[in-house]
Every structure is written in C-alpha cells, then in structure tokens.
C-alpha cells in the first residue's frame, strides 16, 4: 500500500464513513410480532359525496358495526384510507392511513407479546401533528378500537384500529 492509499484509508476511518459489516447481528427488537391496520372513515348525516370522488363505500359488515353503536351512528359512511404496518417486538411504528397526508397519524407499540386472544398495545392518535389521544388497548381477533374523531366537511372522521387480517372491519 502506498503512502497515499494509506492516508486515504485513515481519512475515511476518521470521517466515519460506513464500513461494511459482514456479520452484523439481527436486532431481536425488530422482530415482527403482528400487524396493525388503521382505517379512516368519513361519517355524515349529509351528502357523502363531500368525502370526494375517490372515497369508497364501506363494507356492509363494518357499516352495520358502526350503526350498532349510537354515538357512531350516521346516515352515510365512506372509506377514506387505511394503512397496515408491522408491530415490532420492541420498537414503535406509525400508520398513515391518509398517506401521503399526515393529518391523521397513529403511533403504536407492543406492550407485551401477543396471545391468541389479544394483543396489548400502546397507541397514540396524532391529528394535525398534535398528539390528541394516548391510550392502551387490547385488540382481539375481531375486536377493534373505534375512535370518533374530528369534524370534517360536515361529518366526522372515525379512526378504526385493528389487528391486520380483520378485513371484515373495513
């Protein structure tokens, strides 16, 4: 190795340039232990067309589920968006159901390892980049969390948080 080459290697090391790691250990905290789906619905007693042309109708089962709860009962429902993200063993994660908009963000983190009956997670609801709600929920196989959220265009947003695979909640 010439003197110039040696100096180049030394400079790279001092500058902190990344060096390839052949056998970097896997981080067990990044193990995916589940998936969480966050869905945003538009609920209104007025004209559902206010949600926009791209908003889709809500599945009958989910619509019935919403109508069965008095405080979530509206004449019209529309699906605005959803996002499914992995639930890590140790790290928090975020769902952006209205992506790329950041108007509605949900941060979640596992509290313990899921059981066949339930998954216990810490959850935060962010609206307009402000933390509005922090809670812990037990999500069952078909037992979502429904949050009646802010007003928008004469209606309300309903944020549903469920374990992934519960396609019947859409």
């Amino acid at each position: 190795m010439t003197r110039r080459a040696g100096l180049a290697v030394l400079a790279a090391a001092l500058c902190g340039l990344p060096m390839p790691l052949a056998s970097a250990p896997e981080d067990p905290g990044k193990t995916v232990i589940g998936k969480v789906t966050v869905t945003v619905y538009y609920a209104t007693d007025g004209d559902a067309a206010a949600a926009g042309a791209k908003a889709t109708v809500v599945a009958k089962a989910m619509e019935q589920r919403l109508r069965n709860t008095e405080k979530l009962r509206f004449k019209q429902y529309r699906l605005l968006g959803d996002d499914t993200q992995p639930l890590f063993r140790s790290y928090e994660n975020w769902a952006r159901p209205l992506k790329p908009s950041e108007e509605v963000l949900v941060k979640f983190e596992a509290r313990n390892h899921p059981t066949p009956q339930a998954t216990h997670i810490d959850l935060e609801l962010w609206l307009s980049h402000k933390k509005i709600l922090k809670t812990d929920v037990l999500l069952g196989g078909d037992h979502p969390l429904l949050v009646l959220g802010p007003e928008w265009r004469g209606g309300r947003l309903i944020i549903a948080v469920s374990l992934a695979g519960e396609r019947n909640v859409r």
């Binding site: 979530l72 975020w94 009956q117 929920v137 969390l145 429904l146 949050v147």
Partner: protein, 202 residues
C-alpha cells in the same frame, strides 16, 4: 329398646336373615312403629313408580348411607317449630313425615341430577376467549386542553369505542383524495422518531 341404628334399618326393611330374627326376638314394636314402617314402604313404592326402572342411581351405597344418616339425625333431633300459635301435630305424623319428606326430596334431587348430567350448558354470548378484551379498561390520556374523551365498550359492535369531543376540526379545504400519490416525507416529525422508518407505498 333397640339401638337407633337397628331401629332405623328395621323401619327401612334393611334387616334380614339372622339379624332380623334377632332384632324381632328382642323387640316388639308398638302400633305407631308398625305404622311408620308401613308408611315408609308405601312411600318407597310411590318413588319406585315415579322413577323409571331403567334409571340406576349412581353410587347407591353412598346414597343409601347418606339417606339413612339423614333420617337418623332427623329422628333423633327433630327440628323445633317456632309457631306456638299453631296446634301441635299428632305425635305419629310428626315422627314419620319428616324423614319421609327428606327421603323424597333427596331422591328426587339425586334423580334430577342424573337426568341433567348430559345436558349441554348454555354458552354465553360473549366469547370466553375474548373476555379479557371486553373487560379491559384502558388508560385514556388527553394532552390537549379542551378535548374530552369518553371510553366505552360496545357489545353490539363488539368493539372498544372512544368518543373525542372538542377536537379542532380538520379544515374543509383538505382533500385527501387529491393528495393520493403525492408522497411528502418532509416535515414528518413523527417519522423521525421511528427507529424503523416505514416505506410508504401506494
């Protein structure tokens, strides 16, 4: 006077052979005791007719032992009545009807238990496996002033529900459908806290 055990067994026709001969040689029952024995026989006949012959009581030795013990206890210590105003019952009836009633009650209860042993229990509407989910009471923290949250579970929707009131409305000019496809990761303060940034896919 014979001992209570032999007397009770004699009343139940439980003595036989030499035991019966020895008992009857040393004891001459009066008319009241003979009437008691006859009443018991008639009651046993009534019960035998009421209970199907095909039904065999499980654990018969245990059943008979407990039955005889109960009868003896009642005969030795008859319960005192607390109604002094009512006329006293004839001694004959007061002596025999209580053990007979006890016999009938125990027999019918025992028989009813054998009939319901195979009955399927009613399954609660709520899935027992999900009971912890339905019973969970979360901690709800609202950092924003002026925002209220109400938590409840909705059995009809099979969901946990949080109703937020006082949240600042989302501007109507925000059109989520128009933003589709326009990925903007700048100013995403939330993502900077994420140790595993999520790849945004459409």
């Amino acid at each position: 006077m014979p001992d209570e055990t032999h007397l009770a067994r004699w009343l139940d026709d439980d003595l036989d052979g030499t035991e019966l001969s020895a008992f009857e040689a040393s004891f001459h029952p009066d008319a009241a005791l003979l009437a008691r024995r006859q009443a018991r026989r008639e009651w046993r006949s009534t019960l035998a007719a009421a209970i199907p012959a095909a039904v065999e009581l499980p654990y018969p030795e245990f059943f008979n032992h407990r039955l005889a013990k109960t009868i003896r206890e009642i005969e030795l210590n008859p319960p005192q009545t607390h109604k002094p105003t009512s006329p006293p019952a004839p001694a004959f009836w007061r002596v025999w009807w209580m053990p007979v009633t006890a016999l009938a009650g125990m027999t019918l209860a025992f028989w009813a238990g054998t009939q319901t042993a195979g009955v399927t229990r009613v399954v609660p509407r709520t899935n027992p496996a999900l009971a912890p989910v339905a019973l969970h009471r979360p901690t709800v923290y609202i950092p924003e002033h002026g925002v209220d949250a109400e938590y409840f579970t909705s059995p009809d929707a099979d969901a946990a529900v949080i109703v937020l009131e006082g949240v600042e409305p989302i501007p109507d000019n925000l059109d989520f459908s128009e933003s589709v496809g326009q990925i903007t990761t700048d100013n995403l303060t939330a993502a900077t806290e994420n140790p595993e940034p999520t790849e945004v896919t459409q």
